[in-house]
Protein backbone atom coordinates (compact mmCIF):
# COMPACT_ATOMS: atom_id res chain seq x y z
CA UNK A 1 0.00 0.00 0.00
CA UNK A 2 1.06 3.54 -0.65
CA UNK A 3 0.18 6.76 1.05
CA UNK A 4 -0.25 9.79 -1.18
CA UNK A 5 0.25 13.06 0.63
CA UNK A 6 -0.86 15.93 -1.56
CA UNK A 7 -0.46 19.52 -0.48
CA UNK A 8 -3.06 21.44 -2.48
CA UNK A 9 -4.76 24.82 -2.64
CA UNK A 10 -7.74 25.11 -0.33
CA UNK A 11 -10.11 25.92 -3.15
CA UNK A 12 -9.21 22.78 -5.04
CA UNK A 13 -10.43 20.31 -2.48
CA UNK A 14 -13.79 19.83 -4.14
CA UNK A 15 -12.22 19.17 -7.50
CA UNK A 16 -9.70 16.74 -6.10
CA UNK A 17 -12.34 14.97 -4.11
CA UNK A 18 -14.57 14.54 -7.10
CA UNK A 19 -11.85 13.36 -9.42
CA UNK A 20 -10.83 10.71 -6.90
CA UNK A 21 -14.42 9.63 -6.41
CA UNK A 22 -14.81 9.18 -10.11
CA UNK A 23 -12.09 6.58 -9.97
CA UNK A 24 -13.65 4.92 -6.94
CA UNK A 25 -11.31 6.24 -4.24
CA UNK A 26 -13.49 7.45 -1.45
CA UNK A 27 -11.26 7.23 1.59
CA UNK A 28 -9.15 10.24 2.42
CA UNK A 29 -8.00 12.37 5.31
CA UNK A 30 -7.64 16.13 5.15
CA UNK A 31 -5.52 18.38 7.34
CA UNK A 32 -5.24 22.13 7.36
CA UNK A 33 -1.61 23.08 6.98
CA UNK A 34 0.50 26.06 6.11
CA UNK A 35 3.31 25.78 3.69
CA UNK A 36 5.75 27.35 1.40
CA UNK A 37 7.69 26.07 -1.54
CA UNK A 38 10.83 26.95 -3.38
CA UNK A 39 9.56 30.41 -4.21
CA UNK A 40 9.68 31.39 -0.55
CA UNK A 41 6.03 32.26 -0.54
CA UNK A 42 4.76 35.34 -2.25
CA UNK A 43 6.33 38.72 -2.73
CA UNK A 44 4.27 41.77 -1.95
CA UNK A 45 5.35 45.36 -2.03
CA UNK A 46 4.89 47.28 1.18
CA UNK A 47 6.15 50.66 2.07
CA UNK A 48 8.47 50.77 -0.86
CA UNK A 49 10.29 47.51 -0.29
CA UNK A 50 9.41 43.95 -1.09
CA UNK A 51 8.09 41.73 1.61
CA UNK A 52 7.73 37.98 1.48
CA UNK A 53 4.72 36.28 2.89
CA UNK A 54 5.73 32.74 3.49
CA UNK A 55 3.41 30.11 4.88
CA UNK A 56 0.27 30.22 2.90
CA UNK A 57 -2.68 28.11 3.97
CA UNK A 58 -2.95 24.80 2.14
CA UNK A 59 -4.73 21.53 2.60
CA UNK A 60 -2.97 18.25 2.99
CA UNK A 61 -4.91 15.41 1.43
CA UNK A 62 -3.84 11.93 2.46
CA UNK A 63 -5.03 8.98 0.45
CA UNK A 64 -3.94 5.43 1.05
CA UNK A 65 -4.24 3.20 -2.00
CA UNK A 66 -3.14 -0.19 -3.08
CA UNK A 67 0.09 -0.27 -5.09
CA UNK A 68 -1.64 -0.71 -8.41
CA UNK A 69 -3.90 2.20 -7.81
CA UNK A 70 -1.08 4.64 -7.30
CA UNK A 71 -0.62 5.93 -10.88
CA UNK A 72 -4.28 6.64 -11.62
CA UNK A 73 -4.83 8.24 -8.24
CA UNK A 74 -1.80 10.46 -8.67
CA UNK A 75 -2.94 11.46 -12.10
CA UNK A 76 -6.37 12.36 -10.87
CA UNK A 77 -4.98 14.56 -8.16
CA UNK A 78 -2.47 16.28 -10.39
CA UNK A 79 -5.10 17.09 -12.99
CA UNK A 80 -7.73 18.35 -10.62
CA UNK A 81 -5.43 20.39 -8.38
CA UNK A 82 -3.51 22.16 -11.10
CA UNK A 83 -4.02 25.78 -12.05
CA UNK A 84 -0.59 26.16 -13.67
CA UNK A 85 0.35 28.98 -11.36
CA UNK A 86 2.87 29.03 -8.58
CA UNK A 87 1.52 27.52 -5.38
CA UNK A 88 -0.24 24.53 -6.89
CA UNK A 89 1.45 22.25 -4.41
CA UNK A 90 3.36 19.06 -4.06
CA UNK A 91 2.67 15.37 -3.74
CA UNK A 92 4.75 12.98 -1.67
CA UNK A 93 4.41 9.22 -1.81
CA UNK A 94 5.37 6.89 1.01
CA UNK A 95 5.07 3.21 1.63
CA UNK A 96 2.54 1.94 4.15
CA UNK A 97 3.41 -1.28 5.92
CA UNK A 98 0.00 -2.11 7.19
CA UNK A 99 -3.52 -0.74 7.35
CA UNK A 100 -6.18 -1.70 9.86
CA UNK A 101 -9.90 -0.97 9.99
CA UNK A 102 -10.65 -0.23 13.61
CA UNK A 103 -14.30 -1.23 13.43
CA UNK A 104 -13.58 -4.76 12.33
CA UNK A 105 -9.92 -5.21 13.15
CA UNK A 106 -9.28 -6.33 9.53
CA UNK A 107 -5.89 -5.49 8.23
CA UNK A 108 -3.97 -5.47 5.00
CA UNK A 109 -5.35 -4.48 1.63
CA UNK A 110 -8.91 -5.25 2.60
CA UNK A 111 -8.81 -2.49 5.18
CA UNK A 112 -8.01 0.34 2.80
Amino acid sequence: MKKIEAIIREEKLDHVKRSLEDLGYFGMTITEVSGRGKQKGIALKWGGKENRVDFLPKLKVEVVVMDDDLPPALNAIIKSARTGEIGDGKIFVTSIEDAIRIRTGDNGNSAV
Binding site: D14, L44, V53
Partner: protein
Protein backbone atom coordinates in the same frame (compact mmCIF):
# COMPACT_ATOMS: atom_id res chain seq x y z
CA UNK B 1 -37.52 74.97 21.07
CA UNK B 2 -35.62 73.96 24.18
CA UNK B 3 -33.86 70.64 24.44
CA UNK B 4 -36.09 67.88 25.78
CA UNK B 5 -33.89 65.73 27.92
CA UNK B 6 -36.00 62.59 27.56
CA UNK B 7 -35.96 62.77 23.78
CA UNK B 8 -32.26 63.48 24.00
CA UNK B 9 -31.66 60.43 26.19
CA UNK B 10 -33.31 58.22 23.61
CA UNK B 11 -31.44 59.85 20.74
CA UNK B 12 -28.12 59.53 22.55
CA UNK B 13 -28.50 55.82 22.99
CA UNK B 14 -29.99 55.40 19.52
CA UNK B 15 -26.98 57.08 18.04
CA UNK B 16 -24.65 54.78 19.94
CA UNK B 17 -26.69 51.78 18.82
CA UNK B 18 -26.44 52.75 15.17
CA UNK B 19 -22.69 53.22 15.57
CA UNK B 20 -22.49 49.67 16.90
CA UNK B 21 -24.17 48.37 13.79
CA UNK B 22 -21.08 48.99 11.69
CA UNK B 23 -18.81 46.70 13.73
CA UNK B 24 -21.72 44.26 13.76
CA UNK B 25 -21.89 44.41 9.99
CA UNK B 26 -18.14 43.86 9.88
CA UNK B 27 -18.64 40.53 11.62
CA UNK B 28 -21.74 39.62 9.68
CA UNK B 29 -19.84 40.08 6.44
CA UNK B 30 -16.53 38.83 7.81
CA UNK B 31 -17.95 35.49 8.80
CA UNK B 32 -19.35 34.95 5.32
CA UNK B 33 -16.07 35.08 3.47
CA UNK B 34 -13.23 32.62 3.45
CA UNK B 35 -10.77 32.83 6.27
CA UNK B 36 -8.03 34.37 4.19
CA UNK B 37 -10.24 37.41 3.66
CA UNK B 38 -11.76 37.60 7.14
CA UNK B 39 -9.76 40.57 8.38
CA UNK B 40 -9.94 42.45 5.12
CA UNK B 41 -13.71 42.19 5.15
CA UNK B 42 -13.90 43.40 8.74
CA UNK B 43 -11.48 46.16 7.81
CA UNK B 44 -13.75 47.47 5.07
CA UNK B 45 -16.40 48.36 7.65
CA UNK B 46 -13.99 49.61 10.27
CA UNK B 47 -12.28 51.84 7.75
CA UNK B 48 -15.66 53.45 7.04
CA UNK B 49 -15.97 54.27 10.73
CA UNK B 50 -12.85 56.37 10.43
CA UNK B 51 -13.11 57.70 6.90
CA UNK B 52 -16.81 58.50 6.62
CA UNK B 53 -16.87 59.46 10.29
CA UNK B 54 -14.48 62.31 9.53
CA UNK B 55 -15.89 63.31 6.14
CA UNK B 56 -19.37 63.53 7.59
CA UNK B 57 -18.53 66.22 10.10
CA UNK B 58 -16.33 68.09 7.69
CA UNK B 59 -18.64 68.39 4.69
CA UNK B 60 -21.08 65.50 4.52
CA UNK B 61 -23.61 66.83 6.97
CA UNK B 62 -23.81 70.19 5.34
CA UNK B 63 -24.25 68.73 1.86
CA UNK B 64 -27.09 66.53 3.07
CA UNK B 65 -28.77 68.78 5.62
CA UNK B 66 -27.46 72.26 4.89
CA UNK B 67 -29.68 75.00 3.51
CA UNK B 68 -31.44 73.62 0.48
CA UNK B 69 -30.17 74.53 -2.97
CA UNK B 70 -32.85 73.83 -5.55
CA UNK B 71 -34.12 70.70 -3.85
CA UNK B 72 -30.96 68.91 -4.93
CA UNK B 73 -28.23 69.44 -2.38
CA UNK B 74 -27.48 71.26 0.85
CA UNK B 75 -25.42 74.42 1.09
CA UNK B 76 -22.27 75.01 3.07
CA UNK B 77 -23.83 76.65 6.12
CA UNK B 78 -22.93 73.68 8.34
CA UNK B 79 -19.45 73.17 6.89
CA UNK B 80 -17.11 71.92 9.61
CA UNK B 81 -20.06 71.95 12.02
CA UNK B 82 -20.39 75.73 12.12
CA UNK B 83 -23.83 76.58 13.46
CA UNK B 84 -24.31 73.03 14.70
CA UNK B 85 -24.54 73.53 18.42
CA UNK B 86 -26.07 72.20 21.59
CA UNK B 87 -29.42 73.83 20.89
CA UNK B 88 -31.89 72.19 18.53
CA UNK B 89 -31.90 72.99 14.87
CA UNK B 90 -34.77 75.07 13.58
CA UNK B 91 -35.88 72.42 11.11
CA UNK B 92 -34.66 69.04 12.20
CA UNK B 93 -35.41 67.18 15.43
CA UNK B 94 -36.69 70.23 17.27
CA UNK B 95 -36.28 68.76 20.75
CA UNK B 96 -32.76 67.42 20.70
CA UNK B 97 -29.40 69.19 20.36
CA UNK B 98 -28.60 69.92 16.75
CA UNK B 99 -25.18 68.30 17.06
CA UNK B 100 -26.77 65.09 18.26
CA UNK B 101 -29.07 64.98 15.24
CA UNK B 102 -25.96 65.54 13.13
CA UNK B 103 -24.13 62.66 14.80
CA UNK B 104 -27.15 60.37 14.50
CA UNK B 105 -27.33 61.03 10.77
CA UNK B 106 -23.60 60.46 10.52
CA UNK B 107 -23.97 56.92 11.76
CA UNK B 108 -26.34 56.24 8.87
CA UNK B 109 -23.83 57.56 6.37
CA UNK B 110 -21.12 55.31 7.78
CA UNK B 111 -23.13 52.11 7.66
CA UNK B 112 -24.52 52.82 4.20
CA UNK B 113 -21.05 52.94 2.73
CA UNK B 114 -20.05 49.88 4.75
CA UNK B 115 -23.04 47.96 3.40
CA UNK B 116 -21.79 48.24 -0.17
CA UNK B 117 -18.52 46.51 0.68
CA UNK B 118 -20.33 43.18 0.83
CA UNK B 119 -20.41 43.18 -2.95
CA UNK B 120 -16.70 43.49 -3.49
CA UNK B 121 -15.08 41.39 -0.80
CA UNK B 122 -12.24 39.02 -1.58
CA UNK B 123 -11.01 40.89 -4.64
CA UNK B 124 -11.11 44.69 -4.43
CA UNK B 125 -7.97 46.70 -3.88
CA UNK B 126 -8.18 48.44 -0.54
CA UNK B 127 -6.92 51.72 -1.94
CA UNK B 128 -9.57 51.55 -4.65
CA UNK B 129 -12.25 50.90 -2.08
CA UNK B 130 -11.17 53.91 -0.07
CA UNK B 131 -11.20 56.19 -3.11
CA UNK B 132 -14.53 54.78 -4.21
CA UNK B 133 -15.97 55.33 -0.75
CA UNK B 134 -15.01 58.97 -0.67
CA UNK B 135 -16.53 59.59 -4.09
CA UNK B 136 -19.67 57.52 -3.49
CA UNK B 137 -20.28 59.15 -0.15
CA UNK B 138 -19.91 62.59 -1.71
CA UNK B 139 -21.70 62.07 -4.99
CA UNK B 140 -24.36 59.53 -4.12
CA UNK B 141 -25.07 59.43 -0.41
CA UNK B 142 -25.20 63.12 0.41
CA UNK B 143 -27.52 64.11 -2.46
CA UNK B 144 -29.88 61.18 -1.95
CA UNK B 145 -30.05 61.88 1.78
CA UNK B 146 -30.81 65.48 0.93
CA UNK B 147 -33.59 64.60 -1.49
CA UNK B 148 -35.33 62.32 0.98
CA UNK B 149 -34.61 63.82 4.39
CA UNK B 150 -33.20 67.29 3.85
CA UNK B 151 -35.48 70.26 4.42
CA UNK B 152 -36.51 71.19 0.90
CA UNK B 153 -35.32 67.96 -0.70
CA UNK B 154 -37.32 67.22 -3.81
CA UNK B 155 -38.35 63.65 -3.03
CA UNK B 156 -39.53 64.72 0.42
CA UNK B 157 -41.53 67.52 -1.13
CA UNK B 158 -43.01 65.11 -3.62
CA UNK B 159 -44.36 63.05 -0.73
CA UNK B 160 -42.26 59.90 -0.88
CA UNK B 161 -42.05 58.42 2.61
CA UNK B 162 -38.93 56.83 4.02
CA UNK B 163 -39.00 56.57 7.76
CA UNK B 164 -35.53 55.35 8.55
CA UNK B 165 -33.68 54.81 5.33
CA UNK B 166 -35.28 52.21 3.08
CA UNK B 167 -34.31 54.19 0.00
CA UNK B 168 -31.44 56.32 1.26
CA UNK B 169 -29.65 53.47 2.97
CA UNK B 170 -30.81 50.13 1.70
CA UNK B 171 -31.82 50.68 -1.89
CA UNK B 172 -28.91 53.04 -2.47
CA UNK B 173 -26.43 50.57 -1.00
CA UNK B 174 -27.98 47.49 -2.56
CA UNK B 175 -28.21 48.85 -6.07
CA UNK B 176 -24.75 50.37 -5.88
CA UNK B 177 -23.46 47.01 -4.72
CA UNK B 178 -24.87 45.41 -7.82
CA UNK B 179 -23.42 48.04 -10.08
CA UNK B 180 -19.97 47.85 -8.54
CA UNK B 181 -19.97 44.07 -8.55
CA UNK B 182 -20.76 44.03 -12.26
CA UNK B 183 -17.90 46.39 -12.90
CA UNK B 184 -15.46 44.47 -10.77
CA UNK B 185 -16.32 41.05 -12.11
CA UNK B 186 -16.56 37.76 -10.29
CA UNK B 187 -14.00 36.33 -7.95
CA UNK B 188 -11.69 33.85 -9.61
CA UNK B 189 -12.91 31.12 -7.32
CA UNK B 190 -16.48 31.96 -8.24
CA UNK B 191 -15.65 31.42 -11.89
CA UNK B 192 -13.78 28.22 -11.20
CA UNK B 193 -16.61 26.94 -9.04
CA UNK B 194 -14.22 26.36 -6.16
CA UNK B 195 -15.85 25.70 -2.83
CA UNK B 196 -16.37 28.98 -1.06
CA UNK B 197 -18.34 28.17 2.04
CA UNK B 198 -18.59 30.82 4.76
CA UNK B 199 -15.53 30.80 6.96
CA UNK B 200 -17.12 31.48 10.32
CA UNK B 201 -20.88 31.19 10.68
CA UNK B 202 -20.92 31.88 14.42
CA UNK B 203 -19.49 35.33 13.69
CA UNK B 204 -22.25 35.88 11.15
CA UNK B 205 -24.78 35.09 13.86
CA UNK B 206 -23.03 37.35 16.32
CA UNK B 207 -23.12 40.18 13.83
CA UNK B 208 -26.77 39.56 13.11
CA UNK B 209 -27.66 39.53 16.80
CA UNK B 210 -25.96 42.87 17.35
CA UNK B 211 -27.48 44.28 14.16
CA UNK B 212 -30.93 43.36 15.41
CA UNK B 213 -30.22 45.18 18.66
CA UNK B 214 -28.79 48.21 16.90
CA UNK B 215 -31.66 48.40 14.46
CA UNK B 216 -33.96 49.45 17.30
CA UNK B 217 -31.87 52.60 17.43
CA UNK B 218 -31.88 52.86 13.66
CA UNK B 219 -35.66 52.69 13.32
CA UNK B 220 -36.82 53.66 16.80
CA UNK B 221 -34.43 56.59 16.86
CA UNK B 222 -35.75 57.84 13.55
CA UNK B 223 -38.74 59.14 15.46
CA UNK B 224 -36.20 61.70 16.70
CA UNK B 225 -38.01 61.66 20.02
CA UNK B 226 -39.06 59.26 22.73
CA UNK B 227 -42.70 58.22 23.07
CA UNK B 228 -45.47 56.66 21.06
CA UNK B 229 -43.95 57.03 17.63
CA UNK B 230 -40.58 55.67 18.67
CA UNK B 231 -42.37 52.76 20.32
CA UNK B 232 -44.40 52.13 17.19
CA UNK B 233 -41.27 52.02 15.05
CA UNK B 234 -39.51 49.85 17.61
CA UNK B 235 -42.31 47.31 17.86
CA UNK B 236 -42.81 47.12 14.11
CA UNK B 237 -39.08 46.48 13.77
CA UNK B 238 -39.19 43.61 16.20
CA UNK B 239 -42.21 42.02 14.56
CA UNK B 240 -40.82 42.27 11.06
CA UNK B 241 -37.48 40.80 12.06
CA UNK B 242 -39.11 37.89 13.86
CA UNK B 243 -41.58 37.20 11.06
CA UNK B 244 -38.93 37.29 8.38
CA UNK B 245 -36.53 35.11 10.38
CA UNK B 246 -39.24 32.53 10.93
CA UNK B 247 -40.33 32.64 7.30
CA UNK B 248 -36.81 32.21 5.96
CA UNK B 249 -36.25 29.32 8.35
CA UNK B 250 -39.35 27.60 7.04
CA UNK B 251 -38.48 28.18 3.39
CA UNK B 252 -34.96 26.89 3.89
CA UNK B 253 -36.44 23.91 5.71
CA UNK B 254 -38.66 23.09 2.79
CA UNK B 255 -35.86 23.26 0.26
CA UNK B 256 -33.02 21.94 2.32
CA UNK B 257 -32.56 22.21 6.07
CA UNK B 258 -33.49 24.91 8.59
CA UNK B 259 -30.18 26.72 8.61
CA UNK B 260 -28.79 29.26 11.02
CA UNK B 261 -27.58 31.29 8.06
CA UNK B 262 -31.15 31.29 6.84
CA UNK B 263 -32.56 32.51 10.11
CA UNK B 264 -30.10 35.36 10.43
CA UNK B 265 -30.36 36.38 6.79
CA UNK B 266 -34.12 36.40 7.20
CA UNK B 267 -33.87 38.55 10.28
CA UNK B 268 -31.69 41.08 8.47
CA UNK B 269 -34.06 41.09 5.50
CA UNK B 270 -36.96 41.72 7.85
CA UNK B 271 -35.10 44.58 9.43
CA UNK B 272 -34.35 46.07 6.03
CA UNK B 273 -37.92 45.85 4.80
CA UNK B 274 -39.45 47.50 7.85
CA UNK B 275 -36.98 50.37 7.78
CA UNK B 276 -38.91 52.76 5.52
CA UNK B 277 -42.26 51.75 7.03
CA UNK B 278 -41.64 51.43 10.77
CA UNK B 279 -43.03 54.77 11.84
CA UNK B 280 -45.94 54.88 9.40
CA UNK B 281 -47.67 51.52 9.80
CA UNK B 282 -49.52 49.53 12.43
CA UNK B 283 -46.93 47.22 14.02
CA UNK B 284 -48.98 44.13 13.24
CA UNK B 285 -48.64 44.92 9.55
CA UNK B 286 -44.99 44.06 10.00
CA UNK B 287 -46.04 40.42 9.79
CA UNK B 288 -46.98 40.53 6.11
CA UNK B 289 -44.02 42.79 5.42
CA UNK B 290 -41.66 40.34 7.10
CA UNK B 291 -43.12 37.30 5.39
CA UNK B 292 -43.04 39.06 2.06
CA UNK B 293 -39.45 40.13 2.27
CA UNK B 294 -38.19 36.64 3.08
CA UNK B 295 -40.08 35.13 0.18
CA UNK B 296 -38.77 37.77 -2.17
CA UNK B 297 -35.16 37.84 -1.03
CA UNK B 298 -34.83 34.07 -0.71
CA UNK B 299 -35.61 33.57 -4.36
CA UNK B 300 -33.48 36.53 -5.39
CA UNK B 301 -30.58 34.96 -3.55
CA UNK B 302 -31.14 31.65 -5.29
CA UNK B 303 -31.46 33.40 -8.63
CA UNK B 304 -28.48 35.72 -8.39
CA UNK B 305 -25.57 33.25 -8.72
CA UNK B 306 -27.31 31.61 -11.66
CA UNK B 307 -26.98 34.85 -13.59
CA UNK B 308 -23.24 34.57 -13.21
CA UNK B 309 -23.11 37.79 -11.22
CA UNK B 310 -20.84 37.63 -8.23
CA UNK B 311 -22.48 40.22 -6.01
CA UNK B 312 -20.73 38.31 -3.34
CA UNK B 313 -22.64 38.74 -0.08
CA UNK B 314 -25.99 39.52 -1.69
CA UNK B 315 -26.27 43.13 -0.68
CA UNK B 316 -28.49 43.71 -3.67
CA UNK B 317 -30.75 40.72 -3.02
CA UNK B 318 -31.22 41.56 0.65
CA UNK B 319 -30.83 45.32 0.94
CA UNK B 320 -31.68 46.40 -2.58
CA UNK B 321 -34.70 44.17 -3.07
CA UNK B 322 -35.66 44.14 0.61
CA UNK B 323 -35.54 47.92 0.71
CA UNK B 324 -37.58 48.11 -2.48
CA UNK B 325 -40.24 45.85 -1.03
CA UNK B 326 -40.22 47.89 2.16
CA UNK B 327 -40.67 51.14 0.28
CA UNK B 328 -43.57 49.66 -1.66
CA UNK B 329 -45.09 48.19 1.49
CA UNK B 330 -44.91 51.62 3.07
CA UNK B 331 -47.11 52.89 0.28
CA UNK B 332 -49.53 50.05 0.92
CA UNK B 333 -49.81 50.05 4.69
CA UNK B 334 -49.03 53.56 5.87
CA UNK B 335 -51.69 55.35 7.84
CA UNK B 336 -52.05 58.78 9.35
CA UNK B 337 -53.73 57.16 12.32
CA UNK B 338 -50.30 55.84 13.23
CA UNK B 339 -48.32 58.93 12.40
CA UNK B 340 -50.07 62.21 11.65
CA UNK B 341 -46.92 63.44 9.92
CA UNK B 342 -47.21 60.51 7.48
CA UNK B 343 -49.73 59.68 4.79
CA UNK B 344 -52.39 57.14 4.13
CA UNK B 345 -51.39 54.32 1.82
CA UNK B 346 -53.18 52.24 -0.76
CA UNK B 347 -54.99 50.11 1.79
CA UNK B 348 -56.15 53.24 3.56
CA UNK B 349 -57.69 54.71 0.46
CA UNK B 350 -54.81 56.69 -0.95
CA UNK B 351 -53.41 54.86 -4.00
CA UNK B 352 -51.38 57.85 -5.17
CA UNK B 353 -48.99 57.32 -2.27
CA UNK B 354 -47.83 54.13 -3.92
CA UNK B 355 -46.93 56.17 -6.97
CA UNK B 356 -44.79 58.53 -4.94
CA UNK B 357 -43.09 55.54 -3.39
CA UNK B 358 -42.39 54.08 -6.80
CA UNK B 359 -41.00 57.39 -7.99
CA UNK B 360 -38.69 57.46 -5.01
CA UNK B 361 -37.59 53.88 -5.61
CA UNK B 362 -37.02 54.35 -9.32
CA UNK B 363 -35.07 57.54 -8.79
CA UNK B 364 -32.70 55.99 -6.32
CA UNK B 365 -32.28 52.82 -8.40
CA UNK B 366 -31.34 54.74 -11.49
CA UNK B 367 -29.22 57.38 -9.82
CA UNK B 368 -27.33 54.99 -7.54
CA UNK B 369 -26.71 52.44 -10.29
CA UNK B 370 -25.52 54.98 -12.79
CA UNK B 371 -23.38 57.08 -10.51
CA UNK B 372 -21.76 54.03 -8.98
CA UNK B 373 -20.90 52.79 -12.44
CA UNK B 374 -19.28 56.10 -13.33
CA UNK B 375 -17.40 56.34 -10.06
CA UNK B 376 -16.27 52.74 -10.38
CA UNK B 377 -15.04 53.28 -13.93
CA UNK B 378 -13.17 56.36 -12.81
CA UNK B 379 -11.50 54.55 -9.91
CA UNK B 380 -10.60 51.68 -12.19
CA UNK B 381 -8.93 54.07 -14.59
CA UNK B 382 -7.03 55.94 -11.96
CA UNK B 383 -5.73 53.22 -9.69
CA UNK B 384 -7.36 49.96 -10.78
CA UNK B 385 -10.16 48.24 -8.93
CA UNK B 386 -8.90 44.72 -8.52
CA UNK B 387 -5.99 43.07 -6.82
CA UNK B 388 -3.72 40.86 -8.90
CA UNK B 389 -4.68 37.20 -9.34
CA UNK B 390 -1.85 36.20 -7.06
CA UNK B 391 -3.00 38.59 -4.34
CA UNK B 392 -6.53 37.30 -4.69
CA UNK B 393 -5.42 33.72 -4.30
CA UNK B 394 -3.30 34.54 -1.26
CA UNK B 395 -6.17 36.44 0.23
CA UNK B 396 -6.66 40.12 0.96
CA UNK B 397 -5.73 39.85 4.62
CA UNK B 398 -2.13 39.33 3.71
CA UNK B 399 -1.98 41.08 0.40
CA UNK B 400 -3.83 44.25 1.35
CA UNK B 401 -3.27 44.51 5.06
CA UNK B 402 -0.23 42.41 5.86
CA UNK B 403 -2.08 40.62 8.65
CA UNK B 404 -3.61 37.25 9.39
CA UNK B 405 -6.64 36.60 11.50
CA UNK B 406 -5.18 33.96 13.75
CA UNK B 407 -1.80 33.51 15.26
CA UNK B 408 0.20 35.71 13.02
CA UNK B 409 2.32 33.73 10.70
CA UNK B 410 0.27 30.61 10.48
CA UNK B 411 -3.28 30.35 9.35
Amino acid sequence: MPVNSADTAWMLISTAMVLLMTPALAFFYGGLVRRKNFLSTIMMSFACLGLIGVLWVVYGYTLAFGKDIGGVIGGFNFFGLINVGQTPSAVYAPTVPHMLFMAYQGMFAIITVALITGAVVERIKFSALMLFSVLWFTLVYTPVAHWVWGAGGWLAKLGALDFAGGTVVHIAAGVSALSLALLLGPRRSFLQKDSMEPGNIPMVALGAGILWFGWFGFNGGSALSSGGLASNAFVATQISAASAALTWMIISWIYRRPSLLGVVTGAVAGLVAITPAAGYIQPIMAIPIGIGVSLLCYFMMILRPKTGIDESLDVWAVHGMGGTWGAIATGLFCSVAVNPAGKNGLFYGNPIQLVWQLVGIATVWVFAFGMTWLIGKFVDKVIGLRVSPEEESVGLDISQHGERAYGGQLR
